[in-house]
Amino acid sequence: MMNQTLKNSEVNLKPGTVITGKWNKKSYHIHACLGQGAIGSVYLAKQSDQKMVALKISDKTASITTEVNVLKSLAKVQGSTLGPSLFDVDDWIDRRGQCYPFYTMEYVRGNELRSFLRSRGDQWLGLLFIQLLEDLERLHQQGWVFGDLKIDNLIVASSPPKLRWIDVGGTTQIGRSIKEYTEFYDRGYWQAGSRKADPSYDLFALAMVALHYAYPNQFDRGSHPSKTLIEKVKSARLLAPYQDCLRKALQGRYQSSEAMKKDLNKILLQSQPKREPVQNSGKRQRPITKFSAKLAWLESLIILIIASLFWIIYYFI
């Protein structure tokens, strides 16, 4: 959304640039730009020991510092990878003397969720969601809500495939107001609840990730935003197996990630024997179509009779 504004805080570094921190004196060799967002740019950079890291740099000290704080508190959670690990926090002074705060973190190699699902098959969606729900559960247990959950912030790390989030800019303490969000994923925007951070805020956004995958061009709110969402879930064929679960998430009926995960798990286990049930349901559907065909035939007959009645009346009077 923010790219619709003309002013932003991009820091443009050309590949080959070497930046050295003011405090810790570590040097980074910039390789490529990984992305640009509302609060700055992320680059792929090489440390002096040849290790590749992701480097986020901005001119907004406050926002960068806040993100570092979040990464630090996520790192305190033992034995889990709730966020990318944080390596270095420093300032870079450019030639003109301008100060840019930056931090480096683990470079998560992987595919975008969208391209992963396209190449490996949509049936992965449910499984990846279950993985993410496990992480979300732990995050929520720690008193945090991810906030800005969206398809662009998710990456499928390779071998074995695991869905991970990469931008913690919106991570907010439970009970506070969501720090950063994207309209399409925000339950406030869809008039489906407040912008106060609670676990169901993330679950709503997760359901929107599925919807965004099903409708790559997104869609408008319409006059009844929450109705629009339910209709969109219904009419997306690739979301059919998850319909009930997504609807519950969109209506805020899950109090925890654990509950949503359980439902999703049930769905995946039920749909295990894939091929036969599909044929069965096909057989079951056929009589229905025959019945409706009969109905249609009956209907046209009645219309014909009425029409001829009218014609007869018209003709004789």
């Binding site: 619709q4 405090w23 704080n69 926090v89 406030g188």
Partner: protein, 246 residues
């Protein structure tokens, strides 16, 4: 540190002022009273670059100690809340900076601290921006060219109250439009906690090409509680510190 009430004026306009005092001068005056002035410039869909009239937008916000942003109307909702929050953080950071100077001597600001300590200070700023009370006076330009943008402005303001009401601190909003019929500004909604009633009351547009931004801002300044203003006037420089009861 105890939290006080942050005061902001949010000006939403699409062109340059052409009547009355220089708005930047008025904004400077307002800032001295402890009220921040933020400005959002709304672009036409077919404008690709900053048009001439909107240069003023940045200048007014700079003079008013606030934040400015120029956007297309589709991005208005998200911008209104971002700008309001950024300005809050900025003001609070200013207060904290003053404290730091007080304790650590002149050139000490948040930015000059080593990253480690900066993190701790930012946590304080963040706590404050979540818990402080805020008063936002929204001043909407309703000159003829704004006509097709007003429904979006309305939506953005409702959205702003959704965002702000998710905070722990208390909020008060009021909405004024300009130019007014007899006075410089027109009251649409008096100070209230929620904005969901905006939908029905946005007024008809004033036709004609007058955009008296300066006088409108000046009048808006007087809508904040008079006692607070007087106290700030007397204390001048220390007004901000005073507000936060530090």
């Amino acid at each position: 540190m105890k939290t006080g009430t942050l005061k902001q004026i949010l000006l939403i306009t699409d062109g340059c002022s052409n009547k009355g005092e220089d708005p930047s001068m008025v904004a400077t005056l307002i800032q001295q009273q402890g009220v921040t002035v933020n400005v959002i410039g709304v672009l036409e869909d077919d404008q690709s670059e900053n048009p001439v009239g909107l240069e003023e937008v940045e200048e007014i916000a700079l003079a008013g100690g606030g934040v400015s942003q120029i956007v297309y109307k589709q991005a208005l909702s998200q911008t209104v809340q971002t700008v309001t929050r950024q300005a809050m953080t900025q003001t609070l950071q200013g207060v904290v900076n003053k404290e730091l100077k007080h304790i650590l001597g002149d050139n000490q600001t948040i930015d000059a601290l080593p990253p480690e300590q900066r993190g701790e200070v930012m946590e304080v700023v963040e706590d404050l921006s979540e818990t402080s009370n805020i008063e936002v006076l929204v001043l909407v330009d309703t000159s003829a060219s704004m006509q097709n943008k007003l429904p979006t402005v309305k939506e953005a303001l409702i959205d702003l109250s959704v965002s702000m009401n998710a905070r722990i601190g208390k909020n008060r909003f009021s909405i004024y439009t300009f130019p007014g019929k007899r006075n410089a500004i027109n009251k649409v909604i008096d100070w209230s906690e929620k904005l969901d009633k905006v939908s029905s009351v946005f007024p008809k547009l004033t036709s004609g090409g007058i955009t008296p931004t300066g006088p409108a801002l000046k009048e808006a300044m007087h809508q904040f509680s008079k006692t607070g203003l007087l106290r700030s006037l007397k204390r001048d420089d220390e007004s901000n510190l005073e507000e936060f009861g530090s």
